[in-house]
Amino acid sequence: MSDKPLVEMRNIYKRFGGVHACEDVSIDLMAGEVVGLLGHNGAGKSTLMKMLSGAYPADGGEIYVDGERAHIATPRDAQDLGIETIYQTLALADNLDAPANMFLGREIMTPFGTLNDDAMERDARQVIARLNPNFTNITDPVRTMSGGQRQSVAIARAILFNARILIMDEPTAALGPHETAMVADLIKQLKAEGIGIFLISHDLHDVFDLSDRVCVMKNGGVVATRRTSEVTQDDVLGMIIMGKLPEENRGETAPT
């Protein structure tokens, strides 16, 4: 594995009116690595990731992919770089079925230039079976599906196109324990294949179980990035809630 980061975001800024959603944020990701992104609600995690997935442009800062400057202005630009995203809102068209959603914007066509719905259904079934074998009614409109099934569709879409960089924004929020475990297995499997993953989650236990490093954000800035093996869950909680580094924390508590 090379030592060059797969993704590097440097000094990223984003404002929404008066709100500083991201201020001077820098983060990187290696191939085959899982970086957990933590922080309170509104800390700026989703905003940071949406700039990487092309949902909106950054106001300032630079993004490097494979060490090269990347200009990501649209979701299509990100897709072309092998960046796939599971959005917190899932971003599904409720009136379409699962295969149509998964292939949206990248449909399989027949030699006559028409939509090949059967081929898309076949591929969609294969990927979804990997996530949730009980989920077979994939050709119903997504509107009629359960929250967990919808989330499975969003996950399936992200892994369908052989991503190199995966952004997972709370991918298991609506899943049951069994499906959550399957997603955890999936993450380990993808990691072994050399895919780099940004994982946003509020479940500290999951994050500690899956990520190599954790990055904690607060009020639009990065508190710190640490190897998961070098911090405890309490350290990280302190960082999330009070924005305090574990070192300071220990420094204060050591004398007593």
Partner: protein, 409 residues
């Protein structure tokens, strides 16, 4: 309860099970039944005039203009927009076509009127692109842009000839309106009808084979066969009705009128567009969740412009039928047509909330609208009263849609 066992699974009624296995659209079925009920009631109330070959022939021709535009309105409404300008755009493009063929190009030539049609369709496309650009790139709501368009293009219609009526039009062009000679005769009608049946059978068999090859479940064969028989019977019935209406003072059957052929061609093309092309898929995705469409990498703005271009082209096609039928270009061409067109799409199951609608449904909606109007004319209901009733039907149809959606969720 006769069973004493603990848990009984939720029982599916026989009817529900039938519709599920048949994959029948219950809503479409309800509309077909509505059409049949309306027809039978009018026939009884008009003493058997409504269901004569002559009246059904006229009804088919009358439905064409609204039907052609309603297929485009489905796309517009599915994408969460609206187009209030279609009546005026019909007027404007119709006037351009009439003016060009009579006063600019040489009339009674083989090339004059086809060229005029091409020019009219191009004008429709440009008008659509212009309005679509305001919506997509200008960010002005379609309601406002097309409300402005309703006024602008009505005015532009007048400006083409300073209000003068243009008539008569080219005799060959008039055939497109379905007048006395504007039908294709008995033989061709039967040939087309049988061809349609053959294509339909071949198509559904091919689709079955393809699904089976992928290992997916297919409908039970008896349901497929039953559906095909019903549809084939409908085609045979339609052709024989059109063939039983003779030209005046002769025994020569008229056959399928040209405007209806244009409508059928439009329906086929638009069904293909919505079901089999990326563009159609994107329109529905945008209607279902505009943000998701954007995040999937779809060029939402360009697709929006395309939707209005298609609508503009269809308004021009409808203008051809309308002017050819009237044998004139006039100022009032297409007046208030936007209302019938929107009503047809909505009655036909296009949801104003976006994301839902079918081309065939919109045609059924147009047939329902036109049947009500036609039937009331036969019953000598005053035009004022007809407006009141059609308005009520529109509100009722949308009310039903709202009720239906609420129950489904």
């Amino acid at each position: 309860m006769t069973t004493t066992s603990g848990v009984t699974p939720p029982r599916e009624s026989a009817a529900d099970r039938f519709f599920r296995t048949a994959e029948l659209d219950t809503r479409m079925l309800a509309m077909v039944i509505a059409v049949i009920v309306i027809w039978v009631v009018f026939d009884l109330m008009t003493g058997g005039i409504f269901l004569t070959a002559r009246n059904l022939f006229n009804l088919a021709v009358q439905t064409s203009v609204v039907g052609i535009m309603a297929t485009g309105m489905v796309l517009v409404i599915v994408a969460r927009h609206i187009d209030l300008s279609v009546g005026s755009v019909l007027g404007f493009t119709g006037m351009v076509i009439a003016f060009l063929q009579v006063e600019v190009f040489a009339i009674n030539t083989a090339w004059g009127w086809p060229l005029a049609i091409l020019a009219g369709v191009a004008v429709g496309a440009i008008v659509g692109a212009w309005q679509g650009a305001w919506v997509a790139y200008g960010g002005v709501p379609a309601f406002v842009v097309t409300l402005g368009g309703l006024l602008m293009f009505r005015g532009a219609t007048w400006l083409v000839t300073q209000g003068r009526t243009v008539a008569p039009l080219d005799p060959n062009y008039q055939l497109l309106g379905g007048g006395i000679d504007g039908s294709i005769g008995a033989t061709w009608s039967w040939i087309l009808g049988l061809l349609a049946i053959a294509l339909m059978v071949w198509w559904s068999l091919a689709a079955r084979r393809k699904r089976a090859r992928y290992g997916f479940t297919v409908k039970p064969i008896w349901i497929e066969v039953a559906l095909l028989i019903v549809l084939a019977a409908a085609i045979v019935g339609f052709v024989s009705v059109m063939n039983s209406y003779n030209k005046p003072r002769t025994e020569i059957p008229r056959g399928i009128p040209v405007p209806v052929l244009i409508l059928i061609a439009t329906v086929l093309v638009m069904t293909f567009v919505t079901r089999a092309t990326k563009f159609g898929r994107y329109v529905f995705a945008m209607g279902g969740n505009p943000e998701a469409a954007e995040l999937s990498g779809i060029n939402v703005k360009r697709t929006t412009v395309m939707i209005f271009v298609v609508m503009g082209i269809l308004a021009a096609v409808a203008a051809v039928v309308q002017t050819a039928r009237l044998n004139a270009g006039t100022n009032s061409l297409g007046n208030l047509a936007e209302l019938s067109v929107i009503a047809a799409a909505v009655i036909g199951g296009t949801s104003l909330a976006g994301g839902v609608g079918t081309i065939v449904g919109a045609i059924l909606g147009a047939v329902i609208m036109q049947s009500l109007d036609n039937g009331m004319v036969l019953m000598s209901v005053s035009s004022a009263m007809r407006q009141v009733i059609i308005g009520l039907v529109l509100i009722g149809a949308v009310g039903l849609d709202v009720y239906y959606n609420r129950r489904r969720r």
